[in-house]
């Protein structure tokens, strides 16, 4: 296999890792006000992702860094082109990340309410915008002969891309609900399972339409296979929710998102950012790539360190495998601020 193909696949893997992992912590964040009716319930939800959300987010940083290294032109065009949506995502990720750490630092209802809002909005905005961004990448955006993005902000808001946004939003909500039912017990778990079924139904419909549309537009035999597998995984996952099998339902939504994203990359290949402009130049794995030398170095580094990272991240999930409920939530730590 060519090195550019290897790196296209590795970047796909990084995005898959990002969406299957941060997907559920976005879902948990968005469901905070829905499932977390009391303060203790909200703390249960936040603590299901507390030890892992930051590690999940690193998948995004590494996907960005790997794109910079392996396909500099792709990184440059994408990041300077999708400027304002990326700015929104940055702001969302900043306030959300701080919220987890700062929320409990003052014993003050208004303080907590503000950080809760940061978690909810900060999870919802990227959950939608990543779908919109990938929709636009697949559909093609105006890129001129100098590989520069030549559209504006509103070019990015087309029906197909917005449907992509709705798809990631509903999938992440479902994934989050399933994760909560896997990681909690008691009323929170019942509520999450109930929601997972209903959200899952909506997610299934939107996902099938979005993936079907993608398949008709740019699909290949391989992407069709991945999309079909994603749909099957989602349906089986939802059946597992009904059967009360939390572990299997999580495997289902995990695979549905992973295979769905894999299908999107298969439908994209060998383009990385096609142009919608007549006379423009689209970006491909060839014209966007770094040199063979750089790709070789990066391959060696990735082969050595990726298994190590996967091993210790998996270990974290094992360490924090226990289900939690409101009974496990300790009294709030004393804070130096008067309420």
């Amino acid at each position: 296999m060519e090195l550019t193909t290897v790196w296209f696949s590795l970047i796909a893997v990084l995005w898959i890792g990002y969406f299957v992992l941060e997907g559920f912590d976005f879902g948990v964040g968005m469901l905070l006000p829905v499932i977390g009716r009391t303060e203790d319930e909200r703390r249960v939800l936040i603590n299901t992702i507390g030890p892992v959300w930051d590690g999940n987010e690193v998948w995004l940083l590494v996907a960005g860094g790997a794109t910079f290294a392996a396909f500099p032109e792709w990184y440059a065009t994408l990041f300077s082109g999708f400027y304002l949506p990326l700015l929104l995502i940055l702001v969302a990720l900043i306030v959300r990340g701080l919220a987890f750490e700062y929320r409990h630092k003052r014993d003050d209802v208004a303080w907590r309410a503000r950080w809760d809002l940061a978690i909810i909005v900060g999870s919802a905005v990227p959950a939608v915008l990543w779908g919109v961004a990938f929709g636009n990448i697949l559909r093609g955006v105006p890129i001129d002969g100098d590989l520069e993005y030549a559209g504006g902000f509103f070019n990015l808001l087309n029906p197909y891309a917005l449907l992509g946004g709705a798809t990631t939003l509903l999938l992440f909500l479902t994934h989050g609900a399933v994760f909560i039912s896997l990681k909690t017990s008691g009323r929170v778990r019942e509520h999450a399972r109930d929601l997972a079924t209903r959200l899952g139904l909506g997610a299934a419909v939107v996902t099938v339409v979005f993936l079907g549309w993608t398949q008709l537009d740019t699909g290949t035999a391989a992407s069709a296979l991945a999309f079909a597998a994603a749909a099957v995984a989602l349906v089986l996952g939802l059946l597992a929710v009904l059967a009360g099998r939390d572990g299997w339902s999580f495997v289902g939504t995990f695979l549905a998102i992973g295979l769905g994203v894999a299908g999107l990359f298969l439908a994209l290949f060998p383009d990385v950012m096609p142009t919608s402009l007549a006379g423009g130049t689209g970006l491909t794995t060839t014209n966007a790539a770094a040199t063979a030398y750089t790709l070789k170095i990066m391959t060696v580094v990735a082969v050595i360190f990726t298994p190590l990272v996967l091993a210790y991240q998996a270990w974290t999930y094992w360490v924090f495998r226990r289900r939690i409920s409101v009974d496990h939530i300790p009294a709030p730590l004393p804070t130096p601020f008067a309420p």
Binding site: V62, S80, Y102, E148, A290, I297, M298, F320
Partner: protein, 484 residues
């Protein structure tokens, strides 16, 4: 004033980077100190170390959170605002960034999660090891990002490909072991230890003098003050030595930056170092100066009689070597000179504030010797100023090294003017600058209030039922040892 994307992008880079680098050195330094406290706790089972671990661990986390989230902006803004730069150097510059993510960010985030929540989940030694791994992650991070920056100061291990119009990596080892990197990494990391330790001294000294209620508290805070002050001093000596090496490398690869550091227009042999100057705004005319004879010669060349080439001569050399138009918008054509007053003063402030920090550390070590608790007002003022001195010195150092490279983004290869994103409109860039600056401002207020509140509160006492278990506790009904 007519702002274009370039001006705005430069301001954004300056603001977001200087801001981000307030939190980074504290993270590097404090992670090592907290890991050290926890190791002392595991070894001695003396509760004072556990109290210090928890106390400074809490302050560490408040600081770390902002460092992490503002780091995401750093990773994104090369592509967002500097897309032509990214296209030009991505083949060389992207690799260390990607490796930083894979080696450093995963390590830091995963093991910090384990550390925060794992008090009853992990054996005590393994728990302490988690913080050491976080610290190792910060060192990896520093190494790779500084290797990337060193390429901008002194491009090595690449060739320019005329066909693709970009710099392409030919020797990864040369990029990783760039001679600028080999002196910059120790300088930066030692300065970070100084910063983290100065933070500890400031907080613990205030607690020792103002709040400690009993001998147990006093003895604990005194240990913290004295050990951290010793770190400030030792790291300060290391910063000076590594900085001296750095000066010589800089003179060799970026002679203009050294000349700009002294505002030395004419070549001199031997060259004096001015501690303080009153002169014309561009520094070309001097009215009053306090000078140390031959010091600049020594800093630049290691020889008291060494020749230091001045700005005027270098400007002509550069014009001959690089053509005549490096970036007409900022610098008159043919002018390869950075903004001299800025480089002159930031260089002095960096050194002066760093030395002041080391001096205060000595004073505190002397005043707290043999179990003393000093009550002097001046000493308290100095101790409270101490945490800010290395922080500011770091910022001035970076402003010096980045502004001293101008008009280049990559020295000798690409000017800053040519690095900016052509497709980003001034409006978009301005929206980004305003949004991020306002957000960062609000977060700074929140962060400082939290830090002050928790720092004033001091280290909680530990009761016997509050000790973390030595072995993991797998009772499924036990409440979480720590929860958000």
């Amino acid at each position: 004033m007519d702002l274009d994307t370039l001006d705005i992008a430069r301001w954004q880079f300056a603001i977001t980077t200087v801001y981000h680098f307030m939190f980074v050195p504290i993270t590097i330094g404090l992670s090592a100190i907290v890991a050290g406290y926890e190791t002392a706790w595991v070894r001695t089972r003396n509760p004072q170390w556990l109290r210090l671990t928890r106390f400074f661990g809490k302050l560490f986390l408040i600081n770390f959170a902002i460092g992490v989230v503002t780091g995401i902006v750093q990773e994104f803004q090369f592509g967002m605002n500097w897309s032509d730069y990214s296209r030009f150097v991505g083949d060389v510059f992207g690799a260390p960034l990607a490796i930083e993510g894979l080696l450093a960010f995963f390590l830091e985030s995963t093991f910090l999660g384990l550390w925060i929540f794992g008090w009853d989940r992990l054996p005590a030694r393994l728990h302490a090891a988690c913080m050491w791994l976080v610290h190792l992650g910060t060192l990896f991070s520093a190494y790779f990002i500084l290797a990337a920056n060193s390429f901008m100061q002194n491009p090595v291990g690449y060739r320019y490909d005329a066909e693709t119009g970009r710099a392409e990596m030919t020797d990864f080892a040369a990029v990783m072991f760039n001679k600028v990197q080999l002196v910059t990494f120790p300088h930066t990391v030692l300065a970070a230890y100084m910063t983290g330790a100065a933070f500890v001294v400031g907080v613990a000294f205030w607690q020792l003098v103002r709040k400690a209620r009993d001998e147990e508290d006093r003895s604990m805070y005194r240990s913290a003050v004295r050990s951290a002050a010793a770190v400030v001093l030792v790291a300060g000596v290391g910063v000076t030595i590594s900085g001296d090496f750095q000066g010589k490398v800089m003179t060799e690869v970026q002679p203009m930056k050294m000349a700009a550091a002294e505002a030395l227009y004419g070549t001199e042999q031997p060259a004096d170092f001015s501690v303080f100057t009153v002169g014309s705004l561009d520094g070309s005319e001097e009215r009053f100066a306090i000078k140390v004879p031959r010091l600049l010669s020594f800093l630049a060349t290691g020889d008291l009689e060494g020749e230091v080439v001045g700005i005027d001569e270098l400007r002509e050399q550069y014009a001959e070597e690089y053509g005549s138009d490096p970036g007409a918008a900022y610098y008159s054509p043919g002018d390869y000179t950075p903004v001299i007053p800025l480089t002159y003063w930031t260089f002095r402030l960096m050194m002066g504030l760093g030395m002041a920090a080391a001096a205060i550390a000595v004073w505190i070590l002397w005043a707290t010797r043999a179990g003393r608790t000093p009550r002097g007002r001046w000493l308290m003022t100095a101790a409270l100023a101490l945490p800010f001195l290395p922080l500011l010195a770091n910022s001035f150092g970076w402003i010096f090294t980045e502004m001293g490279r101008q008009p280049w983004a990559v020295f000798g290869l690409m000017t800053t003017q040519n690095a900016v994103s052509p497709s980003v409109s001034p409006t978009e860039a301005l929206v980004s600058l305003v949004v991020l600056t306002l957000l960062y401002g609000v977060l700074a207020v929140i962060e400082v209030k939290l830090l002050l509140g928790y720092a004033r509160h001091g280290a909680d006492k530990v009761e016997d039922d509050d000790l973390p278990p030595e072995r993991p506790d797998h009772d499924p009904d036990r409440p979480l040892a720590f929860a958000y």
